[in-house]
Subunit: 383 residues, 2 copies
């Protein structure tokens, strides 16, 4: 076997897995009705899957991109004429073992890899984890090429590296959750927005990771899940995941947070993040900024839970983070059925920026960062 | 003809009309796909229509209740065994003219009328216009009974009174809009929430009435319409109405207001109201409170447009306004199709309270009321 599966990727409801050399994503567009895998083995299908949110959630996208990069890099490295859809197990059938050992991966591959990276980077502009993962894979592959490894070594090493990306994400999120539990009082009532659970975050979760661990610690948290228009990740994914964990959850519309907080029902807010600037300004799913303002107005602490890979030190503040604007049809239709008049115009920004002055703390794997964020982030990233 | 139609009720896309003695409502649940009338002639169907939001919008509900009250009062007054579905034109066919003249409406009818009123009042608890309209019809009928009018006079007078309720609403909203135009700068970009246009407000509109008149005055306003989850009155009704008026409108999700305001796109917010307390605290469609907080945070003026009949002087502040909690299925399904996991719990408050300190002004038919609202409201109501 040239390509090995990861045991981490074979358990439970993980967002993605390698099976017989094929890259499979839970099709998050079909949940909660249908639990079905999408075959993202070909590079075209992989890019489609990220763009169309078959796989979603910044960390899961990062891991998906790492595996996708590795597989496509391997296809290019083997310089075959085989269909781009071939699974990695096909390699062992089609290419002789001796050829794998004798074929040296050469310098010319680098320009192919740059194209792979730029195509992946273009799929979703806002989340930084994607770029973080492709940067890492790209440097890793460049180093392999410089070492003049043979094809077998290259193929094995790239998939091992993608597996490490996944593995580190999982460990990171567990560490992050352990720190986060400190801000959850017993019987806490928590609002969360969008989905930052196992599907979004490599099988564990950031915002939901904290809540899941709080439940394991006997703190009996309960959750109000924002439905998160227009894609309804809250209704479809967060509620589904929390129900499976038997954590009490009530679905609410995104516009009900003021009502809930004015009724003194809410102890804290926890959300995930797609990119965090050096000053703590946080890009996350559209509606997060509204929720942060509402929380501030009511004196409810607002926490962001995100691994350090979410920080973009190249960006000083949120105004520099590009905001993806998606198809109007996401607002004017639901499941393909129109809910607005024919010809209606809509505006569909997919993310917004929450300025750091609305954030009580950022929960990371090295601890909870507190204001002033510029200093605490700098210190955390230096570790 | 005992019962006359109102010419006001026969024009364009009015939310309701009397036709051949039948009370017909535009079925607002079916818009924008289908423009169809719902026959609310029977009292049971009328109550259903208000409860299930066939007719909606506080002023339109008030007018619907006035007509419904009149028609049911007439059926009781005639003390017939006819089916409660009979149209008013049936009266002329079934009851002899001489009987109509000789039958005196007696005191015993009052307890029937009290039942009609309490059934109507129970249909929707939050909007005050409904109760305002039933109070008015009830006092009016009690006075007729005290005068010992005959059946013909009673039937004619009750429908005339309902017609006056309608007529006054229309005039009031035109007056209100004339005052409101003063707060709309040229080329204003305006956010509105829910639907306070012709369908909701007897053929003209409060919040949309101001915007429509601004367009007539050449101010070229444009609108961002909140979709207004969970019933999507924004997507389905506001966008539809504004498109017909050729006022530029973009549909947005309720959670995008912070994004829009942070991009400096918004000049003001105008919404309608379901009930306003003596201190200016305003009950309106769920999400209004969120929008008001977001506007305050960005220094964007937030206006309420509502006729004086929306004020409830019996209530000193918003905490006393009852909030209707509606069926969870409004959130977990769309057009009958599930969008959440089977068994998911939801919380569905239909309204929220915007405290008066978030409101820049309340646009009424007697002018724009400004803080301190307790004084300005008192003065306006004394007029």
């Amino acid at each position: 076997m040239v390509v090995k599966g990861s045991s981490k990727l074979d358990a439970g409801h993980l967002p993605l897995k390698l099976e017989s050399g094929r890259l499979l994503f839970i099709d998050q567009r079909l949940l909660p009705d249908v639990l079905e895998y999408f075959d993202a083995t070909s590079f075209g299908d992989l890019c489609f899957a990220i763009k169309e949110m078959v796989v979603r959630g910044a960390p899961s996208i990062g891991v998906a991109a790492a595996f996708g990069y590795a597989m496509e890099a391997n296809r290019r490295a083997l310089d075959t004429n085989y269909s781009p859809e071939f699974s990695h197990d096909d390699v062992t059938r089609v290419i002789s073992q001796s050829k794998l050992d004798s074929l040296v991966v050469d310098q010319k591959l680098l320009s192919d890899l740059a194209r792979i990276k730029s195509e992946l980077d273009a799929t979703r502009p806002t989340a930084v984890n994607l770029r973080w993962a492709t940067d890492r894979m790209h440097s890793f592959c460049a180093a392999l090429i410089a070492k003049r490894v043979n094809a077998r070594q290259f193929v094995e090493a790239t998939l091992d590296e993608a597996d490490r990306v996944f593995d580190e994400h999982l460990k990171t999120n567990l560490a992050l959750s352990t720190h986060g539990v400190a801000v959850v009082p017993p019987h806490a009532e928590i609002i969360t927005h969008c989905n930052a659970g196992p599907l979004a975050v490599c099988g564990w979760g950031t915002a939901l990771g904290v809540i899941r661990l709080a439940k394991m610690h006997g703190l009996e948290p309960s959750v109000y899940a924002d439905e998160t228009r227009p894609r309804n990740q809250g209704s479809k994914l967060t509620v589904w995941e929390l129900m499976q964990d038997e954590i009490p959850v009530k679905l609410v519309c995104d516009n009900m947070s003021g009502y809930l907080m004015s009724q003194k029902k809410i102890d804290l807010v926890i959300v995930g993040a797609d990119r965090i600037a050096a000053n703590g300004d946080t890009a996350n799913k559209i509606g997060t900024y509204n929720l942060a303002i509402i929380a501030k107005h009511h004196g409810v602490p607002f926490y962001v839970a995100a691994p350090l890979s979410t920080f973009d030190r190249s960006i000083s503040n949120g105004s520099e983070i590009p905001i993806e604007v998606r198809d109007q049809a996401e607002i004017t239709t639901i499941n393909g059925i129109p809910i607005a008049p024919s010809g209606a115009q809509a505006l569909n920004p997919a993310f917004d920026i929450t300025p750091s002055n609305l954030i009580a703390g950022i929960i990371t794997e090295v601890g909870i960062l507190r204001p002033p964020f510029e200093a605490s982030i700098k210190e955390a990233l230096a570790k």
